[in-house]
Symmetry: C2
Subunit: 195 residues, 2 copies
DNA sequence: GTCTATAATTCGATAGAC
DNA sequence: GTCTATCGAATTATAGAC
């Protein structure tokens, strides 16, 4: 019984440090995702988490370390190994489209992407995530040679969609219904894969 | 003879106001393109232009108005009306690829794109440029119905390339030789156009 | 564990001399 | 037309009380 040792003190007077830390991190991810690094302030993170700004410093040391921690994310890539190669383009596009439609503001990939365009450190983290998560997932489904050929362009296509539809919100793309977007994007990805 | 009325004064003691203004604007575009809006300071713009920061304020009033002026750019889209439809995908991809390879840091489209991801005003300007420059240019070459169908997805593909190769610099895309990139991208754009 | 108070910078913007 | 000097606001970060 090492956890939760309330013996005599008040019922709910003290909050867990882990909870506070998690709340700060959640607020930080929200704000970094919506505004990028520079426009996000320690004060705003604290306010969003319902605590004093100095607590943010106490738990994370500096704004930059908070940012680094917020960028350490799991891309949550699915397993495509059981998908037949002919159906892979649709499976990939559909997966990301459904993901982003459901919760674009919360998606770790979009959080990272927005910051990576103006912040060098975030860009490095995106490079790492690509090498450590995207490449292995694609290699399992396509084999190493095909990945070397198409991984870059495929990523550009999917991230291009993300940037234009969810970040910049260009009306010509943001207004399209998901099904139509899917129908127009799948042939492009298929052409890349089979090129 | 209304211009340049140096009658008795020294030879080159006075600088033209237009020259100073142009120098400021050039430095501002460089810095906004490289760092985005927030990280670019009036002081840095002045230093890059070789003049005092207060001159920047004198000529442009505020940082925000300087930014707006820097964003008022001509996308320099070529005329695609004489290109046969079958060759259009290659012509479009080749045009932007050659443009960006030659001078990615100076390209007005990339300047705008980098800021648009984190700055709402820049995003609005990108929307305007798309509606007033991209759509008319594509309409002349494809006709209005085709543009409504494919302009969004085509833009997503080209801007996706720009983001991943020139802004985020993902090695899997940034390291590809231009010819190979062209070969992999043209089929994708063709599939979009013919879908 | 939480907050107040404040130090130390940095930045946008203004006023005014030359 | 150019610069010096400076104000006022906002920010990160620290020290310390409760």
């Amino acid at each position: 019984m090492t956890t939760s040792e309330e013996t005599t003190a008040g019922p709910a007077a003290r909050r867990s440090g882990d909870d506070t830390r998690a709340a700060i991190l959640r607020s930080a991810r929200d704000l970094f995702a919506a505004q990028g690094y520079e426009r996000t302030t320690i004060r705003a993170v604290g306010a969003a988490a319902g605590i004093d700004p100095s607590m943010v410093m106490r738990y994370f040391g500096s704004k930059e370390r908070l940012f680094e921690t917020a960028l350490a994310v799991d891309l949550r890539l699915p397993d495509f190994t059981s998908v037949p190669r002919a159906e892979l383009p649709e499976a990939v596009v559909r997966h990301f489209l459904e993901r982003w439609e459901a919760a674009p503001a919360d998606d770790p990939l979009l959080i990272m992407l927005r910051s990576a365009v103006t912040n060098e450190r975030a860009a490095e983290r995106l490079h790492e995530a690509f090498a450590q998560q995207v490449v292995p997932a694609l290699t399992a489904a396509l084999g190493p040679e095909a990945v070397a050929r198409v991984a870059g362009v495929m990523s550009a296509q999917l991230l291009g969609l993300a940037v234009v539809r969810y970040l910049v919100r260009l009306p010509a793309v943001a207004a399209l219904p998901p099904e139509e977007l899917l129908a127009r994007l799948v042939p492009a990805v298929r052409a890349t894969l089979e090129g």
